[in-house]
């Protein structure tokens, strides 16, 4: 199983899509233009601090709010390897999978880790943090198909023979 | 010596500073957008002490004082034009931005060339020729000499 390490950015409960990317910036021409405003209502500096391979760990209901797909796209573009949260809001979850952004649901991790901790994720199996293992529940098959195809666009391209 | 930035006739206040920037918190925030629609590089290229040369009716349009203010904030030493629109002219004097009227200089001025401006004499010299600008009425010259209207107001205060 694929394994990776990453530095933790710790966020709270109910991180909504207006926090991930405020509406004000949604009409900017590209996700690239928007990404520097990610999380700005909550932590203005955060977008600039996140480095490739980092991991966001959050509380419950991550991504609640609007259907704006820029939210998972921006997180992916910032280089975030995966988001681990107690739970995810429905539309965000779907959008993230469609964009090939890995999401892991775990009820305990966010209470145990601190910001800056380095944790290890073994996909489909476990998270290793602070000397402890946290098991990962596998995703339903149809979602794994989309993730494995590299997102919904790629899956559709395969369907359309592009 | 001052570098010349040259503009045409009827440069209006929307060209000097467009309305979408006027409600920014301060003139400092606005100045980077000066002449955006006419010369997107102007705000970056202009240096303190440079001058603007223009044709007729410079600064026509709105009463926005942001227009002379951004020029002053960018360090523009003076505007020399064939004629000025009324409100711009008055605003410029009020904030202490020298505005000089010369009917002849526009036709000889070349963008990018250097000129020598003598504000006390009201003269401008380029290519060895000196042009004399129209004198301000003493009342306005007095405001300008004091550094603008606010300075003149403060002077009388205790």
């Amino acid at each position: 199983m694929e394994q990776f390490k990453g530095k933790v950015w710790l966020l709270g409960d109910d991180i909504d899509t207006d926090i991930i990317i405020p509406t004000e910036y949604l009409a900017l021409p590209s996700v690239e233009d928007m990404k520097k405003y990610a999380f700005s209502p909550l932590r203005e500096e955060l977008a600039g601090q996140i480095e490739k391979g980092d991991i966001i760990v959050a509380g419950k209901n991550f991504g609640c709010g609007s259907s704006r797909e820029q939210a998972p796209e921006i997180i992916k573009q910032l280089g975030v390897r995966c988001v681990i949260a107690k739970s995810f809001a429905r539309i965000f979850f779907r959008n993230a999978i469609n964009n090939g952004l890995l999401l892991i649901e775990n009820k305990e991790l966010s209470d145990d880790v601190a910001e800056g901790d380095v944790i290890t994720v073994t996909i489909g199996e476990k998270i290793h943090a602070g000397g402890k293992d946290y098991p990962i529940t596998p995703l339903p098959e149809n979602l794994m198909d989309i993730l494995n195809a590299g997102g919904l666009v790629k899956a559709m391209q395969a369907r359309n023979g592009v | 010596m001052s570098k010349i930035f040259k503009f045409h006739n009827d440069v209006d206040t929307d060209q000097i500073i467009a309305s979408q920037y006027l409600l920014l918190p301060s003139v400092e925030d606005m100045k980077g957008y000066t002449f955006e629609s006419l010369d997107g590089e102007f705000a970056r290229n202009v240096k303190a002490g440079d001058i603007i040369v223009a044709g007729e009716n410079f600064g026509c349009g709105s009463s926005r004082e942001q227009a002379p203010s951004v020029l002053k904030a960018l360090g523009v030493k003076a505007v020399v034009a064939k004629s000025f629109a009324r409100i711009f002219y008055r605003n410029a004097i009020n904030i202490g931005l020298p505005v000089l009227v010369s009917r002849d200089f526009y036709d000889v001025a070349k963008a990018g060339d250097e000129a020598k401006l003598d504000l006390s004499e009201g003269t401008i010299e380029a290519d060895g020729v000196t042009y004399t600008c129209t004198k301000l009425p003493p009342y306005m010259q007095n405001i300008l000499n004091q550094g603008g209207l606010i300075a003149s107001l403060n002077k009388g205060e205790v």
């Binding site: 899509t17 207006d18 004000e24 259907s67 | -």
Partner: protein, 413 residues
């Protein structure tokens, strides 16, 4: 074993004799809605996926509402891309400036009882007010639906919400849904459907039901459903016998049942900066306000404007307080003009804007700054939604909003 409303809609669509929560099903989509903010992204993804033509022109609705009116030069790019897509695909269901998408979808009959509809907006749950299974999706997913006409779904569990009795004076549908969200919390219904029933619900207008279904997403719900009745049929222009299959069985299985007595409900507000942070209006009375907003797909309908007009008649908005009123659609605006509500509101000093998302979507029409406080009738009070993160947003009913506008502080009708 009986079935819930959502299960019956899915069964009708797929032809299955029975479905149960947790199953993954592929459904045929009856209508899709795309709005101006996301049209460029949908078109991009649609092409990238290799599609040429939408699966059915009649089933696609394009609505400009978030960027109406434009407030930045870049906004127009969205219109240009949308206009070109409309022409290229021969779309006929297209609205340039007729109101908010979620109002127009049921109002224009694009979303009808028993339909399955997806939209590129989280408040797509609104159409459950007429017994339509509707939910929000992202633009990539929308592009795939445009090409295929299909969508996979996980059949959701259902939470049954029963409300019986007569609402006290001054308590409205908005107070019910806010209370419910407060009780469920912001994620209490994630992946689930809220199914509403009871005598209070039966008595409610379709508009009031719309207020409730609109906000179901704020508890994380996938959909919010009301079984169709005569009022629904009249509103949606369908016959009762065509939708008589759509009811919840007595022995349907629910993951949770919540019961409310209407008489016990009071006017409430969602306080900064979460929709589930619910407090009684009485508790907050006297809190100073800078602005009041009546509008949005939650509460910008005729009955909302009527309540506001009743309260504001012969009164004036408090000095130094702004009241902004944004009707939810063109036809609501027209009806409100004819009924005299708009005249009353304007006379009282309200700023009446053209129908659109207005302040709720945070792009124009009343943005605020540090230290300001607004009471609004819309659906979200997230940090930074209406300006800077130092703006405090309270959500309440149009009655509370109107009474507070007059008082200049939070006040009850």
């Amino acid at each position: 074993m009986g079935h819930t409303l959502i299960e019956k809609i899915v069964m009708k669509n797929t032809g299955d004799v029975s479905v149960s929560p947790g199953e993954i099903k592929t459904v045929k989509v009856d209508r899709v809605m795309i709005h101006d903010i996301f049209i460029p992204f949908v078109v991009d993804k649609f092409r990238e996926m290799g599609f040429q033509k939408v699966w059915d022109q009649d089933k696609v609705v394009l609505i400009y509402d978030h960027l109406v009116p434009t407030s930045a030069v870049e906004d127009v790019r969205h219109f240009k891309i949308g206009d070109a897509f409309v022409k290229e695909q021969g779309l006929t269901h297209f609205h340039r400036a007729d109101g908010i998408c979620h109002q127009l979808m049921p109002e224009m009959g694009y979303a009808k009882p028993g339909n399955i509809v997806f939209g590129t907006d989280s408040h797509t749950t609104t159409y459950g007010c007429v017994g339509c299974f509707s939910s929000g999706i992202g633009y990539t997913e929308m592009a795939a639906v445009l090409g295929t006409g299909e969508m996979w779904i996980r059949v959701p569990e259902t939470i049954k919400v029963v409300i019986n009795g007569k609402l006290p004076e001054g308590v409205y549908a908005k107070d019910i849904i806010l209370r419910l969200i407060g009780d469920l919390r912001a994620d209490g219904a994630t992946y689930k459907v809220l199914e509403f029933s009871g005598s209070t619900v039966d008595e409610m207008s379709v508009s009031s039901r719309m207020t409730i279904s609109n906000m179901a997403i704020e508890a994380g719900a996938k959909a919010a459903l009301f079984a169709p009745d005569e009022k629904t049929c009249a509103y949606s222009g369908v016959k009762m016998e065509d939708v008589d299959w759509l009811y919840a069985d007595e022995d349907a299985e629910y993951c949770q049942v919540m019961e409310y007595k209407a008489e016990e409900l009071v006017p409430v507000l969602a306080c900064p900066s979460q929709v589930d942070n619910i407090h009684d209006v009485a508790e907050l009375a006297g809190t100073k306000l800078d602005q009041v907003f009546i509008g949005s797909c939650t509460n910008g309908r005729l009955e909302d404007l009527a309540v506001a007009a009743k309260i504001l008649k012969g009164k004036k908005v408090a000095p130094f307080v702004k009241l902004i009123v944004t009707p939810a659609s063109r036809s609501i605006y027209q009806e409100a003009v004819k009924a005299g509500y708009i005249g009353i509101l304007a006379e009282a000093g309200a700023i009446v804007t053209h129908p659109g998302c207005g302040l709720c979507c945070g792009r124009a029409c009343g943005i605020l700054t540090d230290g300001e406080r607004v009471l609004a009738t819309n659906n979200r009070n997230f940090l930074g939604r209406m300006g800077t993160s130092k703006v405090e947003i309270f959500l309440g009913s149009p009655a509370t909003a109107a009474a507070s506008a007059v008082a200049g502080v939070i006040a009850m009708e």
